[in-house]
Symmetry: C2
Subunit: 243 residues, 2 copies
Amino acid sequence: MVSKSEIKLITGLHQKKYRNRHGMFIAEGIKVITELYKAGMDLRELFTVDADLFSFTGNRAREISENELKKISQLKTPNKALALFDIPEEKKAGNSGIVVALDDIRDPGNLGTIVRLCDWFGVEDLVCSTTTVDCFNAKVVQATMGSLARVNIVYTDLEAYIRESGLPAFAADMDGENVYTASLPEQGILVMGNEANGISGNIRLLADRFVSIPRFGRVQQTESLNVATATAILLSEFRRGYQ
Amino acid sequence: MVSKSEIKLITGLHQKKYRNRHGMFIAEGIKVITELYKAGMDLRELFTVDADLFSFTGNRAREISENELKKISQLKTPNKALALFDIPEEKKAGNSGIVVALDDIRDPGNLGTIVRLCDWFGVEDLVCSTTTVDCFNAKVVQATMGSLARVNIVYTDLEAYIRESGLPAFAADMDGENVYTASLPEQGILVMGNEANGISGNIRLLADRFVSIPRFGRVQQTESLNVATATAILLSEFRRGYQ
C-alpha cells in the first residue's frame, strides 16, 4: 500500500525544491536502485512489485501493485521498483588531485555522463556552479548509476571555489593550447562551460590556462564537440601521464 | 499547403523501411536543416512556417501553417521547419587511415555522438554492422547535425569488411591492453561493440589487438564507460600521435 500522503510526497520529489526540503531523491528501476544501495547510499523507502528482487536489503522492500507503482513513477513504463534515498551531505570540495568544475551545464544527460567519467578517472570532487542542473534530477540519477554515490558533487559559487582552492584552473576553450602537447600537472581544476555559451566571462578571468582538443577533420570553425565528449577526452589527457 | 498524400509520405519516413523505399530522410528544425544544406546534402522538400528563415536556399521553402507542420512533425514542439533530404549514395568504405567500425550499436544518441566524433577526428569512413541503428533515424539526424553529410556511413557485413580491408583491427575491450601505452598505427580499424554485450564472438576472432581505457577510480569491475564516451577517448588516442 502507498498512502495518499506518500503519493503526494513522492510526486513532489520530481521537483528540486521539494527534494531539497525533504532531503530525499528518487531512483527508479532494479539496476539503479541496486547499484546505489550497494554503493552505500542511504535507503529511505523502497516500493516494488516484487520484494524478492531486493532480498539483499533485508526486508526493506514494500510490495505494492503495478497500479500503485504507476501512480508514483515518472516513467512511461515503470520498471518494477521506485526507491527514495537520502541526499548525502555535501562534503566541502577538496583542493588536491584533479577536480572537475562545471560552469552552468544544463543538460541532465551531459551531467550524468560527466559524473560517470569522474568516477572512472578517480576524480573525487565535482564542483558545480549553482546554475548547473541538479544532480538528483531523475534523468541524471538514471544516467549515473552507482557513480552518484562515489563522486562528491558540490554546488557552490564557482568563482570563489577557484580563487580559494589554490589549484591551477584549466579552462576548456576552442582557442586554447593544444591539449596533446600541453604539459599537464597532476593537480588542477578542469573547468567545462555551458553547452551553448562556453565558459562565462568571470570564470575566464580566473583561468590560469586554456586547453583545446585539436580538430582533424574538415569541420567548420563554428562546430564544437559536445561538452560531455570533450570532458572525456580532456580528463583522459590529464590522467594518462600519471598512471 | 501540404497535401494528404504528402502527409502520408512524410509520416511514413519515420520508419526505416519507407526511408529506404523512397530514398529520403527527415530533418527538423532550423539549425539542423541549415547545417545539412550547407554541408551539401540534397534538399528534396522544405516546409516551414517562415520562408524568410531559409532565403539562402533560393526560394526552395514552402510556407505552411503551424497546424500543418504539427501534422508532419514527430516532435512534441515542432521547430519552425521540416525538410526532406535525399539519402546520399553509400560510397564503398575505404581501406586507409583510421576507420571506425560499429558492431551492433543500438542507441541513436550513441551513434549520433560517434558520427560527430568521426567528423571531428577526420575519420572518413564509419562502417556499421547491419544490426546497428539506422543513421537516418530522426534522433540520429538531430544529434549529428552537419556531420551526417561529411562522414561516409556504410552498413555492411562487418566480418567481411574487416577481413577484406587489409587493415589491422583494434577491438575495444575491458581486458585489452592499456591504450595509453599501446603503440597505435596511423592506419587501422577501431571496432566498438554493443552497449550491453560488447563485441560479438565472430568479430573478436578477427581482431588483431584489443585495447582498453585504464580505470583510475574505485569503480567496480562490472561497470564500463558508455560506448560513445569510450569511442571519444580511444579515437583521441589514435590521433594524438599523428598530428
